[in-house]
Amino acid sequence: MEPLLEVKDLKKYFPVANNAPFKKSTQSVKAVDGVNFNVYPGETLGVVGESGCGKSTMARLVNQLIKPTDGVVNFKKENLIGMDSNTLRSTRKKIQMIFQDPYASLDPRIKVEELIAEPLAIHKVGNKESRRARVEELLEIVGLNKRFADRYPHEFSGGQRQRINIARALTLNPELIICDEPVSALDVSVQAQVINLLKKLQDEFNLTYIFISHDLNVVRYMCDRIAVMYLGKIVEVGTYEEIYSNPQHPYTKALFSAVPKESPFEDKERVILKGTVPSPLNPPSGCSFHERCPVAIDMCQSQEPEVVTASNKHQASCHLVN
């Protein structure tokens, strides 16, 4: 199958301010450091990892909210990087985003109608009446009353706000939606409602998702394939069955074993990692995980393991696997 999105060797280095104010910065944080992956039409690719591993930066690089340092992002075979701004704007209609915090992502001063219709206004689609009709249609699709169009965001609960966010993402009939921790700020019972909605919409509109989350249970439920990130790199990718039943990378193993128990009767074997994620300002030599890895060998310190390439195979970036 042809991938809908193809990402090759994507990099983002953020320069770090020097102590000397007018000197050019020489150091940089390697937030995303050579990431390859494919997303196929109709699937959900889950991206998991700890905070600071570069998941959200990667999401923003994919739809060019921040400009990458280097790399290729092919959406339907067209490279978004280096595209002129008009073409980019029209291509980007098909890539939408849902953000984590439903309290921060809706402008408190404008009504729901305007919030949802804003993409239409920007792309000059339809007139006032047709936009209103579209807003009402979208509100019903996400399970809200169409009268809510005349209300302000503060009148809604977190779950309802996230539904408004989803409606806004759907306005321009996108093909790919990037969900950046869409349910992390919600309570469990509400979280389940929003997840059900996202699943239903995917079937209905044949959407493709990139689903970023740190909650491995949510990811397992939502996703067809999973990419595990560590310190700006993808360390393992594969279908969820492969990764859950047969994790290859020692980091993936530790990550999955850290999920809290499902019942008081479960006896869980844990791989407790030492220390914390190293600073991306000064990443360790060789394999960036070697300092915390329980099975590291000498080679891990000096040589970087083979990177995960863009394909739908189960791969892990580890010397002991390859």
Binding site: V188, V190, H214, V218, R220, A254, V259, E262, S263, I272
Partner: protein, 343 residues
């Protein structure tokens, strides 16, 4: 059975904003034994944090006020002590750690000074000895090179390390009771596993009791002996962790358990959800607070609030229909259709 350490009886907390009075906690009672750990679970706004902060009288007044109840700790009612007396208990016999490790430490003081302050407030020892104790504490909570780290500022620590510092401060005076308010919510899973492990180890080593407040049932299964399920400022169910997991009685607990994603859940069937949202606590609720969302609600539920009863010994539930003679049946499918009795 271990000896009783804390007994909370009918605590009520109100918050006043203009003429609106919100009853955040409405009659919460529980007991806690020595060396026991209790989990308090519930969704946001259920009153779990307010309950915990009210034990140490840390509710800001105004707007908050503890209007009723008793908190008996070692034969003393904490709610009747003078400010000076309660200060001797806070951080000394009862300590608390908070959710957000990045805001609960003072950014302009070295972490060592913050630990030493806590020790010297309660113990009459020299600065030098306190410093030695602080290094010991940092070592105990697993911070590498504590002699060096003691001179660092909070911003030089990662989130997990800061939470360790918080735990070190909380434990520096050997408390009998540690109240942990969502101690791992802001942390990553791998760090959460480290911290929970640490807390369990320290509980055994130091022989203390823990009240763990969380919205994550997994954390409760992991660390607690007993669990208290709260909804709209009330306890709806309580019992031993194993009992509540195996034989939950309240329809809200069923909903909570069913909406968790578990490994056995196949990804094709939708997740169970609890329809609607929690009630507004600024209005008087006449009947059962959960009635509006409950699939089993009947007329009686809207008219009379159920009391917390113990149909099974050691396992209490607040539901009209969960008494010995009248039992509701837990059904797997009940939360899928999204309908309630009245809608």
């Amino acid at each position: 059975m271990s000896e009783q350490l804390l007994s909370v009886q009918g605590v009520q907390v109100e918050f006043k904003s203009g003429s609106i009075i919100t009853k955040a906690v409405n009659g919460v009672s529980f007991n806690l034994g020595e060396n026991e750990s209790l989990g308090i679970v519930g969704e946001s706004g259920s009153g779990k944090s307010v309950t915990a902060t009210s034990l140490l009288r840390l509710i800001p007044n105004p707007p908050g006020k503890i209007t009723n109840g008793k908190v008996i700790f070692k034969d003393k009612n904490l709610l009747e002590l003078s400010n000076e007396q309660i200060r001797k208990i806070r951080g000394n016999e009862i300590s608390m750690i908070f959710q957000d490790p990045s805001t609960s430490l003072n950014p302009v003081f070295k972490v060592g000074d913050q630990i030493i302050e806590s020790i010297r407030t309660h113990k009459n020892i020299s600065k030098k000895e306190a410093r030695k104790k602080a290094i010991e504490m940092l070592d105990l909570v697993g911070i590498p090179a504590p002699e060096k780290r003691i001179n660092m500022y909070p911003h030089e620590f990662s989130g997990g390390m800061r939470q360790r510092v918080m735990i070190a401060i909380a434990l520096s005076c050997d408390p009998k009771l540690l109240i942990a308010d969502e101690p791992t919510t802001a942390l990553d899973v791998t760090v959460q596993a480290q911290i929970l492990n640490l807390m369990k180890d320290l509980q055994e080593q130091l022989n203390m009791s823990i009240i763990m407040i969380t919205h994550d049932l997994g954390v409760v299964w992991e660390t607690c002996d007993k669990v208290l399920v709260m909804y709209a400022g009330k306890v709806v169910e309580s019992g031993s962790v194993k009992e509540v997991y195996e034989n939950p009685l309240h329809p809200y607990t069923w909903g909570l358990l069913d909406s968790q994603i578990t490994e056995s859940h196949d990804s094709l069937s939708p997740l169970a959800t609890i329809p609607g949202s929690p009630p507004d606590l600024s209005h008087e609720i006449k009947g059962c607070p959960f009635a509006d969302r409950c699939p089993f609600a009947q007329e009686l539920c809207y008219e009379k609030a159920p009391e917390l009863k113990e149909p099974i010994e050691g396992h209490a539930v607040a539901c009209h229909f969960q008494t010995e003679e009248h039992k509701l049946e837990r059904r797997e499918d009940v939360y899928f259709n999204g309908t309630t009795a009245r809608s």
